[in-house]
Symmetry: C2
Subunit: 103 residues, 2 copies
DNA sequence: AAGATAGGTGACCAAAAGGTCACATGTCAA
DNA sequence: TTGACATGTGACCTTTTGGTCACCTATCTT
């Protein structure tokens, strides 16, 4: 469980999740090209994300495909926000968003 | 924004949030008594939580009261879980919980 | 006023984390 | 089958982080 929080603590790893959120199934090399870092650094970060179960992988020949797993993030949410608080907080954030980006 | 993730990365700070989740408005000394750590360590952790806006404080004489703020946690959730995924994932977790703790 | 109580600051040290590199294995394609 | 490509490992260094302590200020109580 603690691995998830450690994994989310680094900005590079959050950016990797952002990349996978927009499009799944990318290879290491493809992800590396989006970052100003050597392949080895990206590999370490992906390993942390994988061990935290935030990223699932699948081999395909010499390539390794990466997929975002949203479940642990939902569990973080549920730890400190009960069902009653939830509706209040999300209503507040919806209001805030609609004020910042008026449609 | 990054401060929130760093704040959540440490187990002691998560435990502090757990304590405030069960009961709000505690003082530093009261929180310290629940931990195997000196007051200074706890103070540092509370400062990190406060700067991350996960804990709000209020002075009352020589005491400082601490309150849990759930908003940033909801924002983490919304970053990687869209409205469609949300219902699927939460349904999955509800099922998992009902299987683990049959009522 | 004086002791006790609650909280705060800066220096300091040990442990952990982020990043790079030399080197190595497995897979594809001509 | 040879070279290019995709990924993997371990050592190494620098920076950040967690924790303690000496010392300090503010507030309450008698």
């Amino acid at each position: 469980m603690g691995g998830v929080f450690k994994a989310l603590a680094d900005p590079t790893r959050r950016f990797l999740l952002d990349l996978l959120f927009t499009r799944d199934g990318r290879t290491l090399t493809e992800l590396e090209s989006e970052l100003e870092m050597t392949r080895f650094g990206v590999m370490k970060h992906l390993k942390v994300l994988e061990e935290a179960n935030l990223v699932a992988t699948q081999r395909s020949g010499r390539e390794k495909l990466h997929f975002l797993n949203p479940v642990p993030i939902r569990q973080i949410h549920d730890r400190w926000i009960d069902k009653y608080t939830q509706s209040r907080v999300s209503a507040l954030l919806d209001l805030k968003n609609s004020l910042e980006r008026p449609s």
